[in-house]
């Protein structure tokens, strides 16, 4: 962090709203700077060559605008990548997941190239000209649509996260990943464009006895899931747009189902068919997997919404505090999300959940969407901290402790773990993933 930012942070941290106060404060800061206290770092010993020399890109032509007609990130960003690990390979990385580097995330939108990628038979490459969507079963009038016809419906644009319900699911029995990307990166957030299914159903005439909808993909695993009509008639969408462009193949190009807030697996990609019936289907991914086994021996099936959850993003194992100076003012920043509503607050603990203080929400706060939160902290070199965040939503839910959650779900349920997460900040400023539990 450079000096300018430190100054801005210290100003914004004090609740100065009025212009006159601002000048007074600035003057005071200048005074202390002159007096040589810790507001500014001491003068550099040698002149910085990045300043003292012409930089190579400043003295020659850049690329013509005709290059990279679809833009790419800077080459220097090449480590900002989705990642995988053998544990999640399921053999040959076809029925597998590549997770999002959320330690590098900014704001509440995940760029399309970094959106986590989960498939059950590999990423299908669908020819949009051969794309068809069929809706049939318990409707008065079944329908088949081409992609162009589907996109003729009035569009709806919504910003929602999608989360694999196995996010954090490898850590029911204790922490395993010393990494934010792997501990919480089975999720991403994007602005989606499509049509409400209820809009299409207006003309098809859903029969009153219809209780369930099968959503089926056209990929080689014919990925299917059963959806209750409640969700279909509430906010379920058929989407073709993601962050202002067509869906990426990894997200089901050209069309996927979007059930805001619900398990990513239910948001069927490469969507080809919706069928309505009185009885549910028993698809492979709602029986053999995506069912949460409890200590009673009973498993929760049709486990829909991803519950209220949060994490500290900075610091994290990938973004440690090893470079901080004693007394440096630093923002603790995080994400909170709930598939059941809108985030209403986040608390932060410095002692692993014994005592909490309220953090501040930042920016847009939208339903079933990533929400940024923040807490300003003065770093004390040598302090050992246990940073735990705890989010709440407007449906009335609050993140449970690890003990509270495992008391009901045990340690074998794999899915829907939303107990509070803890980072240990060591005396050196390194960050370790730990859990606070009995």
């Amino acid at each position: 962090m450079n000096d300018k930012n430190s100054l801005e942070n210290s100003i914004s941290n004090d609740k100065i709203l009025d212009r006159r106060d601002f000048f007074r404060k600035t003057a005071a800061l200048s005074m202390t700077a002159i007096a040589g206290t810790s507001i500014f770092a001491s003068e550099a010993v040698v002149d910085d060559s990045a300043i003292m020399h012409h930089v190579p890109w400043g003295q020659k032509w850049g690329d013509p605008v005709t290059k990279n007609l679809y833009g790419m990130p800077s080459e220097y960003e090449h480590n900002v990548l989705r990642r995988n690990t053998e544990l999640l390979a399921s053999g040959n990385y076809r029925a597998s997941i590549a997770v999002t580097p959320i330690h590098e995330s900014m704001g509440i939108i995940t760029p399309n190239g970094l959106f986590f990628s989960r498939s059950h038979g590999g990423v299908a490459h669908v020819d949009p000209n051969e794309y068809r969507l069929m809706i049939h079963g318990l409707v008065e009038k079944p329908i088949v649509l081409t992609l162009e016809q589907l996109k003729r419906y009035p569009s709806v644009t919504r910003t929602h996260f999608i989360e694999c319900p196995a996010n954090g699911g490898q850590e029911w029995r204790g922490p395993q990943f010393n990494s934010l990307q792997f501990a919480k990166g089975f999720m991403s957030c994007a602005e989606w464009t499509g049509v409400y299914i209820k809009t299409i159903l207006e003309d098809l005439g859903l029969k009153p006895e219809a209780q369930w909808m099968l959503a089926e993909g056209s990929d080689n695993s014919e990925m299917g899931r059963t959806v209750p009509v409640d969700k279909v008639l509430d906010d379920a969408m058929i989407v073709w747009g993601q962050n202002g462009e067509a869906l990426r193949p990894e997200q089901g190009y050209p069309v996927r189902l979007l059930l805001p807030g619900w398990e990513g697996n239910l948001c069927v990609k490469w969507l080809k068919r919706l069928e309505f019936a009185t009885e549910p289907w028993y698809c492979k991914e709602e029986t053999s997997k995506y069912t949460a086994l409890k200590p009673t021996g009973q498993a929760v099936q049709h486990f829909y919404a991803n519950e209220v959850n949060s994490t500290v993003v900075s610091p994290s194992p990938e973004i440690p505090w090893t470079d901080l100076k004693n007394g440096q003012l630093i923002e603790i920043e995080g994400l909170a999300w709930s598939g059941m509503g809108t985030i209403t607050g986040v608390d932060l603990s410095f002692d692993g959940g014994k005592n909490y203080v309220p953090a501040k929400l930042k920016g847009l706060v939208l339903p079933k969407c990533w929400t940024r939160w923040s807490y300003m902290h003065t770093y004390k070199k040598g302090d050992v901290l246990l940073l735990t965040s705890r989010a709440m939503d407007d449906a009335g839910y609050i993140q449970p402790t690890v003990d509270q959650e495992t008391a009901v779900m045990g340690v074998e349920s794999v899915y829907h773990r939303n107990g509070v997460e803890t980072w240990e900040v060591t005396a050196e400023g390194k960050v370790n993933h730990v859990q606070i539990r009995s």
Binding site: G91, S221, E279, G353, M392
Partner: protein, 385 residues
């Protein structure tokens, strides 16, 4: 302020109140009732954002777009519906006639499935297992919790865990073999189902599925899975949605906590018994690619010659099956095995590789040009001379 153990009790009473509200409002079809809007929960236990004054939550809505009247698309033909409506339901809807024996199933399994699912469906590497022994016995492990490192976990394979056999038939027909799905005949699917029932030591209507067993549609519909009653909430029957709504209205059912914000604990919230639980044995850190937050120029991997490139592709895409015994594929370096193959002539070797043979999909499932693929075959053959 109160301590953690009291939270659950309070959650329970909140849940009871919520459950009453839900029961009332949904039977009266109050999906958009503004009176109850505040308290109304969705089927998942979440909140509803009805359209109020042209907005749902923070989003404006053009309500005139929601009224229908669209003429997009067309009616599918009966044949089109038939072509796509092939799902298999628990009551047998969609399950075609056909038959297959355990013996035939074993033959298909050995040819097309063993390379991933292992001998007797026991799994291999990180590919899923299909059976681990007697299904009825293993169903009893579902209460197992690995609360200490030595404890046995629950066994969740087809026989011990899945609630319906229809899932097996449907998924084999549509999703298997994984690299070339939808290539099995209905009889082969019956045969493979029979073989998997056999390896799970299951019975149908009191009759053991032994090596002689022949499965058909009629018998298939009599399969009762040992764990059929092992799932909640109940989703079967004409009023099942009512039950699902009620289930998710009670936080105690699915491990979540509810509380009024003002009542949440802010000070001294922990039991004295809690400890810091740390990552054991170094944890998992074999990330692909390795973790890095450095901002520098990427190192360009120079491919020196075609032989090196072929080796690299082999290692990335082929070694999985051709690098280890027991995967059913000839192992690179196994001279006698490859001599037998090259005896057929290189034209045949190329053709089999390009078209796929036994458990191997066309080009081994790799996305390669024909010439590139042949260069990999050459590499594998030359390395095995």
């Amino acid at each position: 302020m109160f301590k953690l153990d009291r939270k659950l009790i309070i959650s329970a009473s909140v849940a009871a109140t919520v459950a009453l509200l839900i029961g009332g409002c949904f039977t009266e079809n109050a999906m958009a009732s503004s009176v109850l809007a505040k308290q109304q929960l969705t089927i998942d236990g979440g909140i509803v954002y009805p359209i109020v004054e042209g907005k749902t939550g923070p989003y404006y809505v053009d309500e005139s777009t929601l009224k229908g009247g669209y003429t997009n698309g067309r009616m599918p033909t009966a044949n089109e519906i038939k072509a796509w409506d092939k799902d298999v339901m628990a009551d047998g809807t969609g399950l075609p006639e056909g038959e297959g024996s355990v013996e035939d199933g074993e033959a298909v399994y050995e040819a097309k499935c063993v390379s991933c699912h292992g001998d007797f469906g026991s799994g291999s590497g990180s590919y899923p297992a299909l059976s681990k022994g007697n299904a009825v016995e293993l169903q009893k492990t579902l209460k197992n919790q690995r609360v200490n490192p030595d404890a046995d976990g629950p066994v969740r394979v087809f026989g011990s865990y899945w609630p319906q056999a229809s899932t097996l038939w449907w998924y084999i027909r549509d999703g298997m073999p994984h690299p070339m799905s939808k290539t099995l005949t209905d009889d082969e699917v019956y045969a493979l189902s029979a073989y998997i029932l056999y390896t799970n030591e299951m019975s149908i209507a009191g009759e053991e599925v032994d090596e002689e067993y022949v499965l058909n549609r009629e018998k298939f519909l009599k399969i009762k899975m040992p764990n059929v009653d092992g799932f909640e909430p109940n989703i079967a029957g004409p009023n099942s949605l009512q039950g699902v709504r009620k289930y998710y209205a009670n936080p105690l059912n699915f491990g979540v906590a509810k509380i009024k914000p003002a009542d949440r604990c802010m000070k001294d919230c922990q039991k004295p018994t809690v400890q810091v639980s740390r990552i054991q044995n170094g944890g998992i850190s074999d990330f692909l690619p390795p973790m890095s937050t450095v901002r520098d120029l990427p190192v360009v991997e120079e491919v020196a010659n075609p032989q090196d490139e072929a080796k690299k592709i082999y290692e990335d895409s082929c070694k999985m099956c051709h690098g280890a015994d027991g995967m059913g594929a000839p192992v690179v370096g196994d001279k006698p095995a490859w001599a037998k193959i090259t005896d057929k002539g290189m034209a045949t070797v190329y053709k089999n590789g390009l078209d796929g043979i036994n458990g191997m999909p066309p080009k081994g499932g790799a996305d390669l040009s024909e010439d590139k693929f042949k260069s990999i075959v050459d590499y594998m053959v030359n390395t095995s001379k």
